[in-house]
Symmetry: C2
DNA sequence: CTTTGTACTTGCAAAATGCAATAACAAATA
DNA sequence: TATTTGTTATTGCATTTTGCAAGTACAAAG
């Protein structure tokens, strides 16, 4: 872990995932059920391979993701959220809510509206889904 | 505004404030009542002047901050949150909550515990405080 | 024993950041 | 008027991070 800029909890958090890519990987695992390197590469934002490797490494070091060998394919790794990673869900949901509110052309506007109507329920639903997958 | 990587609301949001500094400026205004360039410079994370100028400019362009001349000092500018900026409060609170939960030595642990006990109330309190200041 | 899929590495150019010095300009002071 | 102070912003340059293209390593499948 690189040195912290301060002990402020917001600053500490941004030291870990304050970049343009980390939370997109989290999103892929959390909301889209992705689990592997190649699935992350497919996402529409087109992350570069060196950045992806680096972010997966940092997120694993920070104990936000766990990495294990796929039972189905021994040359494949599976990335899962730890509890610390699952706890990022409210942040991701709030960011999605804000983004949906202030962006036209958002393909997930329905989910955005659902969130605005009952955020706590949406979070609870995803948490339930994730509960069985946590490492 | 730079080009968006995708129409995903999370990606769009990160295009705007997905860096290590923007949300710290928002924090200073939102939670610490700071309003001016020199106050932002004083924060413990020690943002560089060129980064600060650039982030204030971007946040103003994105209509998250408004910039006006100080009535008390005509050579001073005052930065305030717009409604779009105030709407970032839940994100900031969730990030603070997560950061406080997973970091020792956090000087605002009391606030962290208060958030965990009654997040909605904390958000409502800050919203009330900010309501009168919005531009 | 060649092909495919998966994860990762390398090299290089471009962009962002960190740091130090300095400028522009209004207000306050001498 | 001249000088100093406070505030905001700019510039130059070194360092770091990112984007992009190509290539490597290695296990599984055919």
């Amino acid at each position: 872990m690189k040195k912290k800029r301060s002990d402020c909890p917001i600053s500490c958090s941004l030291d870990v995932f304050g970049d343009k890519w980390s939370l997109l990987i989290i999103r892929d695992i959390m909301l889209r059920g992705k689990m592997s390197y190649s699935e992350f590469l497919e996402s529409e934002e087109k992350i570069a391979t060196n950045i992806l490797v680096n972010r997966l490494k940092v997120l694993e070091e920070e104990n936000i993701l766990s990495k294990s060998v796929s039972p189905a394919n021994k040359s494949k790794f599976i990335y899962r959220l730890t509890q610390k990673g699952v706890d990022l869900l409210p942040i991701v949901i709030e960011i999605m809510d804000w983004g949906a509110r202030y962006n036209e052309n958002c393909p997930r506007r329905e989910l955005g509206k659902k969130i605005q109507k009952d955020k706590i329920k949406v979070i609870a639903e995803y948490l339930e889904k994730l509960r069985n997958e946590v490492d």
